[in-house]
């Protein structure tokens, strides 16, 4: 068929019908990620041990600094907020069979877009908040749509384009922050501070951006299951041929899903700018997009499970700095732990060797191995 195109991303566990339950059954669906995380911590602990630090001490420092006081909790929630959004962005893509590894770029252009909308205008608070947030989302959506349109109409793999768009975004915002939108009379490249009317408030220890992220996750949990558009997304993701035969426009769905995915990543960037940083500074948000991939896979492409997955990553990222400060362990140990988590979750290591799922059935059904 002419629309076959590059291979679809098949996770083997995209299961849009909630009544069916996932392939593994509900207990293992939760147990596998948890065991994977624990295993990753164990291996990470060995690395820490060889750096001459007691791994238990290191992990205690890490978690205490993140969860031990209200200051830490606030930072965890702030850290988790954009992660929930980038995780969701990847999840929405996966559901349609698209692998959006460009959440980083979409988030970046949205962050500077929201900063511009925040400092350049003076508007009543509610209007300004909506405008800046919306403008950031629009930037993210537009950025992702380049990849969506190319995928739908020119059959260009979104994996390559989104990665390329990440690099382009970095150069572009660097240019903008150092020239067009630069804060005057400052040696460093960054935009001016946003107006107070565009700043997202924090209520006690709860940043409003975090609340928005929770609501958006729940919304998408509902959207993908209960709406006709969500049904289109799932159908295109599971079987694009059948979708086409059923009268669903695959091209339109791909473009739309990519735009939604970009808007979500963009929301992450906008919320970060408006709620935490207050302006745009290049490189303040490095890595958020890639953590989104880990989070989405850890959450098994389920929007609601994105929340705990993102919080876990948020805790690690928050604690990592204190870890270096107090024990001298490089904060990059978190990258290793997250990479290992991803490995254990996505590769059938845990499911096959610890839970022995499919092992028996496989050996029977597959002829020779």
């Amino acid at each position: 068929m002419s629309s076959d195109g590059p291979a679809q991303t098949d996770l083997g566990f995209t299961d849009p019908n909630p009544t069916l339950g996932p392939k593994y059954g509900p207990v293992k669906a939760i147990a596998i990620p948890i065991v994977s995380v624990l295993l990753a911590f164990a291996v990470g602990g060995i690395l820490i041990y060889f750096q001459g630090v007691n791994p238990f001490t290191a992990y205690r420092v890490l978690f205490e600094s993140a969860l031990g006081d209200s200051d830490g909790l606030l930072r965890v929630m702030q850290k988790s907020t954009p992660l929930i959004f980038t995780g969701l962005a990847v999840v929405v893509g996966l559901r349609v069979g698209l692998f959006n590894i460009g959440a980083q770029g979409q988030l970046t252009v949205a962050a500077i877009g929201a900063a511009w909308a925040g400092y350049h205008f003076d508007l009543p608070t509610v209007v300004h908040l909506t405008f800046a947030l919306g403008f950031g989302m629009l930037c993210g959506a537009a950025w992702a749509s380049i990849a969506g349109v190319l995928r739908a109409y020119r059959n260009v793999s979104e994996v390559i384009t989104t990665i390329m768009l990440n690099s382009i975004a970095i150069a572009l915002v660097d240019y903008l922050a150092s020239r067009t939108f630069k804060e005057p009379d400052q040696p460093i490249s960054r935009t001016p501070l946003i107006s107070d009317s565009a700043a997202l408030a924090t209520f006690g220890v709860i940043p409003s951006g975090f609340v928005i992220a929770l609501i958006v996750s729940l919304f998408f949990g509902w959207f993908l299951i209960r709406t006709t558009e969500g049904f289109r997304f799932n159908t295109v993701g599971l079987n694009p041929n059948a979708a086409r035969y059923a009268g669903i426009s695959v091209k339109r769905t791909i473009v739309l899903a990519m735009a939604v995915s970009g808007a979500l990543a963009g929301m992450g960037g906008a919320v970060e700018t408006m709620g935490v940083v207050g302006r745009f500074e290049p490189a303040f948000n490095a890595g958020l997009g890639f953590d989104g991939i880990t989070i989405a896979l850890l959450a098994r492409a389920n929007p609601i499970a994105t929340i705990p997955a993102a919080i876990l990553v948020g805790i690690l990222r928050t604690g990592a700095n204190s870890l270096q400060f107090e024990t001298g362990i490089e904060p990059e140990v978190v990258d290793v732990i997250l990479a290992l988590t991803l490995l254990f979750v996505a590769a059938p290591i845990v499911s096959r060797y610890i839970f022995r799922i499919n092992a028996k059935r496989k050996s029977k059904s597959k002829g020779r191995s």
């Binding site: 590059p6 390329m164 768009l165 020239r179 990059e332 990479a339």
Partner: protein, 324 residues
């Protein structure tokens, strides 16, 4: 149709180079040398993607394989004081990364894109964590001029006065072109990538073919990685492969999954970058440096948009082999 288009472009570029050479010998030579240096890692990395995809496996993890082997090559050389040992470290690491990727994408039949992404994330994590500052290479890689050939006008200084990796890259391309289309390995590899079940029923072990090819391709990524840190940059920084693994996939596509085609595509890439940098340096045009940096990425997208619909990937690429 596409071939004619490509040939026309090639002829125009060659005429342009010749003309430019008559105008300004020095600059032309320097731009071309730059272009070649820029193209070499892309060429080798494109061969990685090509060997994998011809066998039916999308390797999105080239970036991570490059990064790991560049890392191992550099720190191996710095620690042992030997460029040769460093290179071997790089290639060995590439092979290991190839085997790891093959384990996921072939043996475990995981989604190939996700397997590749895991490779990338692991590579980023490990190289960041173990990165150490202040290491230096024992020496810079030797430049080997080929007698007589090096004295030819234009091609002499550009092609025949280079580091060993450059010659290696050219040999790899020619070698693969021959292997792929004239040998039994090539016929079987292409069969596995086009219709694995036909290959299987013809008595070819699809899984083993894929596993071996993907692993060996990892060794090639090791060569490219070692080149990056040992010859091209002479150092290693976190994340310094800068998306080359992905650009290489685009180059593989422009080359229509042919080694020689990919070679030409990579040179074209290098040339664009070389000309733009030269124009920038000469202040002929005032392009902000950020836009020069963007150029290869923009070019990748634009060319993919033009070409991707017209070339045909191996039919079975991206699908783990399951007997029906």
């Amino acid at each position: 149709m596409r071939a004619r288009w490509a040939w026309t472009l090639t002829v125009i570029i060659l005429v342009g180079i010749m003309f430019s050479y008559t105008q300004d010998e020095l600059r032309t030579t320097s731009v071309l040398s730059f272009s070649l240096r820029y193209a070499i890692p892309l060429i080798i990395a494109a061969m990685v993607g090509l060997v994998c995809e011809r066998s039916g496996v999308i390797n999105i993890g080239i970036e991570g394989q490059l990064l790991m082997s560049a890392f191992a090559g550099f720190f191996g050389a710095a620690a042992t004081g030997s460029l040769i040992i460093g290179t071997l470290f790089g290639i060995g690491t590439g092979l290991i990364m190839g085997a790891v990727f093959a384990t996921g994408a072939v043996a475990w039949k995981m989604d190939q894109i996700i397997s590749g992404t895991i490779i990338n994330i692991i590579a980023t994590g490990l190289t960041s964590f173990f990165y150490a500052q202040g290491q230096v290479l024992p020496a810079s890689t030797p430049v080997v001029a080929i007698p007589y050939l090096k004295d030819l006008p234009l091609v002499g200084p550009v092609l025949f006065n280079n580091g060993l990796f450059t010659y290696a890259a050219i040999i790899i391309v020619i070698f693969l072109q021959i292997m792929l289309f004239l040998t039994i390995w090539g016929l079987r590899t292409r069969a596995v990538g086009e219709n694995p079940s036909a290959a299987d029923t013809s008595g070819i072990n699809v899984q083993r073919t894929r596993f071996i090819n993907v692993t060996l391709a990892g060794g090639l990524a090791g060569v490219a990685g070692a080149y990056l840190s040992l010859e091209a940059a002479g150092t290693f920084e976190r994340g310094f492969t800068a998306g080359r693994g992905f650009t290489a996939l685009a180059i593989m596509i422009f080359g229509a999954w042919n080694p020689v085609g990919a070679f030409a595509a990579a040179l074209f890439f290098g040339l664009t970058q070389g000309v733009a940098s030269q124009l920038q340096a000469d202040e002929v045009v005032d392009i902000p440096p950020q836009f020069i940096n963007m150029l290869p990425y923009v070019l990748t997208i634009v060319l993919l948009a033009v070409v991707a619909g017209r070339v045909r990937p191996p039919a079975a690429v991206g699908k783990p082999y399951e007997k029906d």
